[in-house]
């Protein structure tokens, strides 16, 4: 038996391959491990990107295939940048993202801090708090569409009981431009504060006890402890949570499509909705591709700056 085992040694060629691509080659082996991921991402990520780049250089309108295609250079980008609707959507998106993420972050952190106390029934309460985040975004949007539906929803019913005291009718939750915008922010906060809470709770759980004990000996106030110990030590958790949430809020889709479809007028038309309308309602594939590339540039720049700022501040703190 032992002879047979010895004779089963891999042939020389395979050993050569193992030497070149195997774990012993520290320069090449990581690329072998990453290859499947990179190939898949290339197929589904890079290829559509290149396709979009190619289409954006032409004048493709899907509903009019008989129009001759030709290259138009940077015309599509120019037409997007000169479109007032684009800038309106841009401001709407930024304002939506900033408000939503800001409120969600502080509410989530506040909730996580409350759970630092010794409480009963923590796991039940945590589970109940997490429910909005577990629901599909589609379902969250449908639920609130129902809640705010004129003549049918709980919110419209009970709020009109209040407003009728002042001689007013139903609150136009989704049909007044400014109110509809705030309604959407409210629903986004409802849906995603639990996510912030979860990330902050995990971050708080991993902060070591020693700095707090030292601060207690020094008699530092809890306000000071929060700003000088908790916040700096939470930075990695905050970075991850805020970057993920910002990127997702920036491209919120289901919520807006289901609740307002970008309306009334274009009050809640974010970039994603503007893009959808251009591409899937007007079938202007080239302009849509240009919009999507501009959007992607914005997101990349935003998160790059974010990560840089946070890294440098974290390193400075250490």
């Amino acid at each position: 038996m032992s002879n047979a085992e010895i004779s089963h040694r891999p042939p020389a060629r395979r050993r050569g391959l193992a030497k070149r691509f195997g774990p012993s080659n520290r320069r090449v082996f990581p690329w072998v491990l990453m290859a499947p991921t990179l190939i898949i991402l290339f197929a589904i990520g890079i290829y559509p990107f290149l396709y979009a780049l190619w289409i954006a250089g032409q004048n493709v309108i899907l509903s009019k295939p008989f129009i001759p295609r030709f290259f138009v250079g940077l015309y599509q980008y120019q037409s997007v940048i000169q479109d007032p609707a684009f800038w309106h959507a841009f401001r709407t998106t930024i304002w939506f993202t900033l408000q939503a993420v800001f409120i969600e972050f502080w509410l989530g952190l506040g909730l996580a801090l409350l759970f630092q106390r010794k409480l009963r029934g923590v796991s039940v309460m945590q589970l109940l708090i997490l429910i909005p985040m577990i629901l599909p975004p589609l379902v969250a949007a449908l639920i609130w569409r129902y809640m705010f539906y004129p003549g049918a929803g709980l919110m419209t019913y009970y709020s009109s009981a209040v407003t009728s005291w002042f001689g007013l009718g139903e609150v136009p939750f989704l049909s007044h431009p400014a109110i509809a915008f705030q309604t959407l922010i409210f629903v986004d906060v409802w849906e995603w504060t639990p996510f912030m809470f979860l990330m902050m709770a995990a971050g708080l759980a991993s902060i070591p006890r020693q700095p707090y004990e030292a601060a207690e000996i020094d008699g530092a106030s809890s306000w000071r402890v929060f700003w000088t110990i908790t916040m700096p030590l939470l930075r990695p958790a905050i970075l991850i949570a805020v970057v993920i949430r910002t990127m997702d809020a920036f491209r919120t889709y289901e919520l807006i499509v289901i609740m307002t479809r970008g309306g009334p007028g274009n009050a809640t038309t974010t970039l994603n909705l503007y893009l959808t309308k251009t591409g899937l309602e007007f079938f202007d594939a080239s302009k849509a591709a240009a919009i999507s590339l501009i959007m992607m540039m914005i997101i990349i720049v935003m998160s790059f700056v974010f990560i840089r700022v946070f890294r440098s501040r974290t390193e400075a703190a250490e």
Binding site: L33, L41, I44, F49, L119, I131, P136, Y149, L198, E216
Partner: protein, 285 residues
């Protein structure tokens, strides 16, 4: 003086924390978070008349009318199975494939590492609508439109950046010397990975997989445009009951029950893993 006092007395005398206002806030938050969903679920068990009533019917006789309509007449269980198959398989593939990529980024110091990890993340930044048209055309040529394998491939790719980013952080937290000592003892790289690193990673992998599974189960934009009949998943199927002039709220409610029940059950079972896994990752940084 006071500092010394607290140090001496606090361990013995149980600290009296007046927490009633904390409970008040937390219970308020719980109600706010649960009630809208609960109301939708209740509506699902109403009959057509009570669901259509203008005043909210908090007390009603339960009826399975809406569920019968969905299951017998609309065949929603097919959509349910599609959703299940797609989310389980794409979770399996994305975690298995992304794990090795995360490991490489965490463990090896190769040229261009930061660029690769940032590039992987940028794939998550593309708005789904932006890549929709090219993917639609590609799927059309490859005959993947309205098929389950098509959706599985797409979701696997969509979730990979998230998996890689989550797991990279977790792998960094596991000291390299554990594997190295296993390899000194004669294990190959893969044996060391499987026997030492993987068990240590299990809580984080579980937490990541839970997230990925939920995201795949919930995905809406691609499912809407890339499936029509055969591979239609739950989200686009449910969307159909919410449009039109007179929405039947009890049917919508029943559909919401069907799409969310597995999620709630799943999270109930997995709750402990979720919190443990997440805190493992952010720990010790």
């Amino acid at each position: 003086m006071s500092g010394i006092d607290t140090r001496i007395t606090s361990p013995d005398a149980a600290p009296v924390q007046r927490n009633w206002w904390v409970y008040l806030i937390l219970i308020g938050v719980c109600v706010l978070n649960v009630l809208p969903y609960l109301w939708m679920v209740m509506t699902g068990f109403m009959d057509k008349a009570s669901a259509a009533s203008a005043t909210p019917q908090w007390i009603f006789t339960p009826s399975l009318e809406a569920f019968e309509l969905l299951i017998h007449n609309k065949g929603i269980m097919k959509n349910f199975m599609n959703s299940l198959i797609v989310s389980v398989s794409s979770t399996f593939f994305s975690v298995t494939i992304g794990m090795f990529c995360a490991y490489a980024i965490a463990r090896y110091d190769f040229v261009g590492r930061d660029d690769v990890s940032f590039w992987v993340l940028t794939n998550r930044m593309m708005p789904p609508v932006a890549v929709l048209i090219p993917i639609f055309v590609t799927f059309q040529t490859l005959k993947l439109l309205d098929t389950l394998p098509g959706l599985i491939i797409l979701y696997t790719a969509m979730q990979l950046p998230f998996v890689v980013w989550m797991l990279t952080g977790y792998f960094r937290d596991i000291p390299r010397r554990y594997e190295e000592s296993a390899m000194v003892d004669g294990d190959t790289w893969f044996q060391a990975f499987r026997k030492v690193t993987l068990p240590l990673m299990m809580p984080s992998i579980t937490a990541t997989a839970i997230f990925v599974m939920i995201l795949s189960w919930n995905e809406f934009a691609f499912a809407t445009f890339l499936t029509s009949t055969e591979a239609k998943t739950m989200p686009p199927a449910i969307m159909a009951y919410s449009i039109g002039a007179n929405i039947e709220w009890n049917v919508l409610g029943a559909a919401v029950v069907l799409i969310t029940a597995p999620l709630i059950l799943f999270v109930l079972v997995m709750q402990r893993h979720l919190i443990n896994g997440l805190s493992q990752g952010v720990a010790k940084k």
